[in-house]
Structures are given as C-alpha cells and as structure tokens.
C-alpha cells in the first residue's frame, strides 16, 4: 500500500492505514538505530549534546556527603569538610536550615552607609556648601 505524505499530515488515513503507517515507521527507525547508530531526538534540543555541555547550562547538583548529626548542648552542629568559612543561613519555617557559602567583603571596600554619607557631602560641596571651620584647639591635648 502506498501512502502519500500529505495524507499523514491531513489525517485522511483510516485507522488501519494509520496503524500500518506507524508500524512501518517504527520498523525503519529501529533498523536505523541498529545498523547506523542513528537516533531520533524528540527533546527539541538536538544541538545540545550531553558529551559537550555548554557553559550557560547549570551543572546539576550532586550529593557529596550524606550524614546525620546531633546538636550539642548549645544547639550547635558541625559541618564536615566545609570548604568555606562563612555561610549565609536561612532558617525555614519547616525546621530546615539553608546554608549558602559566602566570602568576606574586601576591607578596602567602602560600606554602603559611608558611601551614602560621601554622596550627600559631595553633592553639597559641589554647591559650595560645607560646615563652618571647626575649632580643634579645645580638644588638642597640650
């Protein structure tokens, strides 16, 4: 039985013809997999091969260690083989704790508060505004 491709698209096939068509396609694809090593990709991401992941893809998290701990008298627990010294901790309502590694901000960095203070002072200085000269004589030790 010869089937035209258009019939497949427009659904002009009856049930028997459709089953036959599907069987033929499955046979052909199975043969191709066996003989040629060719596979059909239904994911829609055929250009992303698993062998060579792209940089934008997030690497899946894996469980490196799995253990139970008991909190001590002061309700502290120890982290084994923790790779960072500082963590951001979130205590969740269900009793879970979520820890994210952090690093200390560089001591040379200016804090947000000081930067805000600097912004205001500079804005006023540009307008020619500053306090009256201060008198240090009262505080300078002899």
């Amino acid at each position: 039985m010869q089937l035209r491709a258009l019939d497949v698209f427009f659904g002009f096939l009856n049930e028997t013809e459709f089953k036959h068509m599907r069987f033929c396609l499955q046979t052909v694809s199975f043969y191709m997999v066996l003989r040629i090593g060719f596979t059909f990709d239904n994911s829609g991401k055929s250009h992303h091969s698993e062998v060579m992941p792209t940089l934008t893809q997030k690497q899946p998290l894996t469980v490196v260690e799995d253990y139970d701990v008991a909190a001590d008298a002061k309700k502290r627990i120890s982290l084994r083989n923790a790779k960072t010294k500082y963590f951001h901790v979130q205590a969740l309502s269900n009793g879970s704790f979520y820890l994210e590694p952090r690093v200390l901000v560089s001591p040379q960095a200016i804090s947000a508060r000081s930067l805000k203070m600097l912004d205001k002072s500079v804005a006023n200085l540009k307008k020619g505004l500053a306090s009256a000269p201060i008198d240090l004589s009262a505080f300078v030790e002899a």
Partner: protein, 135 residues
C-alpha cells in the same frame, strides 16, 4: 594652621557636633572617646599638612572619577588592620579642606554591628576558556 577644616553636610557636621558637645560634657563612652581622640589628632595633622606621614593620604582614583574632583583618603590610625579612614577633598574655598565621610561608619561600630556585617556571594568560578582569554 595652614588649612581650615570643614565638615561635609549634613551627616559629618552632625556627627562632629554630636561628638564634640558630648566630649565637652564628658558623656562619651569608652569607644567613642577613643575614636574622638584619633579623629582630633588626624584632623590636626590634616590642618597642618594634608601630606603628613601619619595620615598616609592618597587619592582614590575611583572616587575621583565618580565625583569629578579629587577625593583623598587618610588613615585615622596606623599599624591596624581595617584601620579607620576619612575621605576628604579640597574646597569649597582656597585653604579649605572638607571632610566628606569616615569609614567605618559610626553606626557600624555600635553594639550588634556584628549581625549587620555584610558578606558577599562567592566569586563565580572561571572556566578554562575564560582563563585562556584573560592570558
């Protein structure tokens, strides 16, 4: 004195007024007393000679670029990790120096400040191709 020292408006002026008045009244606590002593000493040096060795004054290029005029940084103490610093600029008039800000901010030094310490996220790990590109 070679320079007039002025305080930036409004926060630095408010801070100076608060500290100086409380100092005269003898109401500064131990830490504030220490800080005020350092500040007065540094301001004294700054008024005499902004390039005094103890101040280790230097221009901060990033801030200069940001604000469009020269911003300098001087230290309030020596041989101290994370030493206190003050930021200043020349102006508004000739022979004037305006202290714009101090670091750490006085609020940061109060009790409970440890809880407000900010930590940053870990820097992103560079891939091999990025490292090669940088080379």
């Amino acid at each position: 004195m070679a320079f007039n020292i002025r305080m930036g408006l409004p926060e630095m002026e408010a801070l100076w007024n608060n500290l100086s008045i409380r100092k005269q009244q003898g109401h500064l606590d131990k830490d504030e007393e220490k800080f005020f002593k350092k500040l007065v000493k540094s301001l004294g040096y700054l008024a005499e000679n902004p390039r005094h060795n103890s101040l280790a004054s230097h221009e901060i290029d990033d801030l200069t670029r940001k604000y469009g005029f020269k911003i300098f940084q001087s230290y309030l103490e020596n041989n101290t990790p994370s030493a206190g610093r003050m930021f200043w600029a020349y102006g508004p008039d000739k022979r004037d120096i305006t202290v714009l800000a101090i670091e750490p901010h006085p609020e940061d030094q109060k009790r409970g400040a440890y809880q407000r310490i900010k930590l940053s996220a870990l820097p992103s790990v560079k891939t091999r191709s990025e490292e090669k590109r940088e080379r």
